[in-house]
Amino acid sequence: MRLAIKVWEKFQGEGCHGQSHSLLTEEKRGKIAIVGSPNVGKSVLFHRLTGTYVTVSNYPGTTVEVSRGKGTIGEEIFEVIDTPGMYSLLPVTEEERVARSILLEESPDIILHVVDAKNLERMLPLTLQLLETGLSLVLILNIIDEAERLGMQFDLSLLEKRLGIPVVATISTTGQGIDTLKEVILERLKESYCANLFPYEEPMENLLKEFEAKIQGDYGFSRRSLAAMLLQEDSEISRLAREKERDYGPITSAVEGAKGQFPHPISYELALERQRIASRVVHEGTRFGPKAQGNWVEWLSRRMISPWTGIPILLLILYYGIYWFVGDFGAGVLVDFLEGTIFEGNINPWVTKLINSLFPWKILQELLVGEYGALTLGVRYAVALILPIVTTFFLAFSILEDTGYLPRLSLLIDRIFKAIGLTGRAVIPMVLGLGCDTMATMVTRTLPTRRERIIATLLLALAIPCSAQLGVILALFEGNPLGLWIWLGVIISVFLFVGFLSSKVIPGERPSFYMEIPPLRLPKGSNVLIKTYSRVHWYFREIFPLFILASVFIWLGQISGLFDIVVRGLEYPIRLLGLPDKAAVSFLFGFFRRDYGAAGFYDMKKMGLLSGHQLVVAAVTLTLFVPCVAQFLMNIKERGMRTGVGLSLFVLLFSFGTGYLIHLVLNTLGVRL
């Protein structure tokens, strides 16, 4: 009996700040939260601990959906949470808010604070804030290899002594140090040892202590931590305290009183104090030796960010990445092979025979294996056309992303993007849009202001062709380079023009641009493959069913005659653009799938039905045309019914308007293509 009590007492720890930590028991599964700034390798660590990999990305907001996994360490099972990137416990972005909420509401049993070892001085202030919360903490100096290459050497035991928590050095990508980490986690859970409190300078320390005494309730964090956040007038915490505290009045007046005591805002003062403490600790615990590596990486980075060399580099990447890899290889070689040899040569005839023999009803045959059949066209397009193009695009994008090139691109184009109401950050959804506009529209979530999100969604719907469409358009202009250049010129002009106009018309605050530029790294094969896989997987899960549905709708539309009515209706504006009537069908298809539309024109071109002039008009109008049904639905989902539908209507009208204009201009100038 006594033994049982002893064991029970050992498990019920009393925390240092008047709180009980809930430690691991046999029944409960322990919770581990991984916390830290973006780009430090949190997600890779998450994978190491759980075996479930999550997309690792440089750009802000990818991990906005919180990843959780089950991890086994020794004999124990844990729930591991990968929180969004957090710079400070006082959140600026949505991601940081989410990260803090996780800590506050879920009271994890252990927090792993992952930092980039070479930037310890800059990141340690967050460790101090986390220490203040009273939650159990382990500091992880990750990417230790890069720090060592710069000549840095850490005295881990000294750091442990000064901070009062375990400190582990790791390289999450290779797995070095992870076993030590696992042992440390198990150790840490068995004891609850108290971290040293770092007292601030007199006036601040006294203020905090006084304030702490005023707080009555129990929160996930220590009262001292709450006090600090209330003093800095954090809106969410203030609201929480207002609900929990019986008497909030004295707190409000204390906050007002506190403000006058310091020359600067309290958040600034606290940040300064913490930085001072952090710098002191780091200087004690770090030694500098000789640098190991040469500097060609830095040289390349400088070439990328300087406009004179950066733009040529960008053009090279666009050419080899998009045009050659996605266009020639993906849309050309792979598609030809899959479509021609595999599908048209073998699968389609076989399937058609099978279905025709199984189902004698013409209507069903039409649905499945007819001209627009779900199997003969829908599946064929998805697997033989979309899959290779989209996969090659995502492959190229993931490579680019993994190297750390994208932030450098952002800073090059920030000024141009400012002219259209966006910032350099929007480069990510825009480039992604060249792969799949629907996915890119989802990513616009990460843009900080509503105005940016609307403008980005509009431009994606209007002027960014997705890879499927791009592939076919490039094929359309084969042998007609002048036509291609005209098309390109028109699209870019529309992009800039509409962007500029919307930045003037749509109200909202002007966004600011600030971004960390991570070091250039060689892309890791496994990273790239896994990122590509998860994106392609998402694409198929979300988009593919919609396209099958599209086939069904087309079939329904055909048998009901609705299809023909709409096509007839479209013929009038089509004629205005100088295009043959047959083009109407392609446009209608273009709504369901952008590449269907382009493919229709490709067929017409092969049959020699289109002049070069008509080709350009068609290509321009099609590119600008309404987003495909998937993107249309995503627009509504992300921006709301009114904005979503409004955007699409505008795009519809604008695209035909521009097509008409081009038609007139080409006619007037008498251009022969």
Binding site: N119, M123, P263, S267, S279, D414, Y514
Partner: protein, 257 residues
């Protein structure tokens, strides 16, 4: 005429206080007195009243203040006489002349505070009174030099706006810079972050989140098309507005190798 700092252009006024360093005490008093006479400088008390009025009426946008002043007080009488203020039923209003003079006084006061905190590095025990006394010594013309020296700061250490002067428009660069905004650094220049312009809480938090905190060393890498700088072992890119919010104390040997 050479002033205290190298490359400094100073007005040719032979009564410039910069020469006071060489004068014995008697001449100091006399010089000050004649300065006051020449410029009709208001007594300290009057200046303080104008300051309070300016902050209340112009900054806090009240119509008038009731300061409980008696018209019999010398300072008040002088202000009334000079056409700086108007008193009605115990409420004090600012005239146009008072507005202008008040703005000038506030500007000198806040520049003085910046000087104390940034250059003279007065941290502990920084009291408003020190700023006050110091400010009264800042004579017209010197405030332009100080302003230029500090890189035309926009806010005082308390976060309030510093009214701009002529020098801010001209952006005169003849005086050697000691503290300047990040965007004025040249490529390869380095320094220590002195302070963050704090009147926009959102921007302040963003800058702090990046880790751009006073005390840390910063080096400029590139200025166009975006500002790229290094803090510690990390690099950051910001646009012009953000770069204007970080004030850097230049290192002595950082001016162009």
């Amino acid at each position: 005429m050479r002033g205290l700092f190298p490359n400094q252009r100073v007005s040719d006024d032979s009564l410039s206080p910069l020469r006071i360093r060489d004068s014995p005490r008697a001449r100091v008093d006399q010089t000050f007195k004649s300065m006051e006479e020449r410029e009709m400088k208001l007594p300290e008390r009057a200046e303080e009243i104008l300051e309070t009025l300016w902050m209340g009426i112009v900054e806090d946008q009240k119509n008038s203040l009731s300061l409980g002043l008696s018209e019999r007080e010398d300072a008040v009488a002088e202000l009334l006489e000079g056409g700086y203020i108007q008193v009605a039923d115990g409420d004090v209003f600012l005239e146009e002349k008072g507005r202008e003079e008040g703005e000038r006084i506030i500007r000198r006061h806040r520049l003085a505070e910046r000087l104390l905190v940034d250059v003279l590095d007065v941290k502990r025990g920084f009291t408003p009174e020190m700023g006050c006394k110091f400010e009264h010594l800042l004579h017209e013309g010197i405030d332009e030099n100080v302003c230029t020296l500090l890189g035309h700061p926009k806010i005082c250490p308390h976060g309030k706006l510093i009214p701009p002067g002529r020098c801010c428009q001209k952006s005169a660069r003849e005086v050697a810079r000691v503290v300047c905004p990040l965007k004025d650094l040249d490529v390869k220049d380095g320094g220590t972050i002195a302070y963050l312009a704090t009147n926009d809480e959102g921007r302040l938090h963003k800058l702090m989140a990046l880790g751009a905190l006073p005390g840390l060393r910063v080096t400029m890498i590139q200025k166009f098309p975006s500002y790229v700088f290094q803090v510690g072992h990390s690099q950051f890119a910001v646009d012009q507005e953000m770069a204007g919010g970080i004030y850097v104390r230049l290192e002595k040997d950082s001016n162009h190798f």
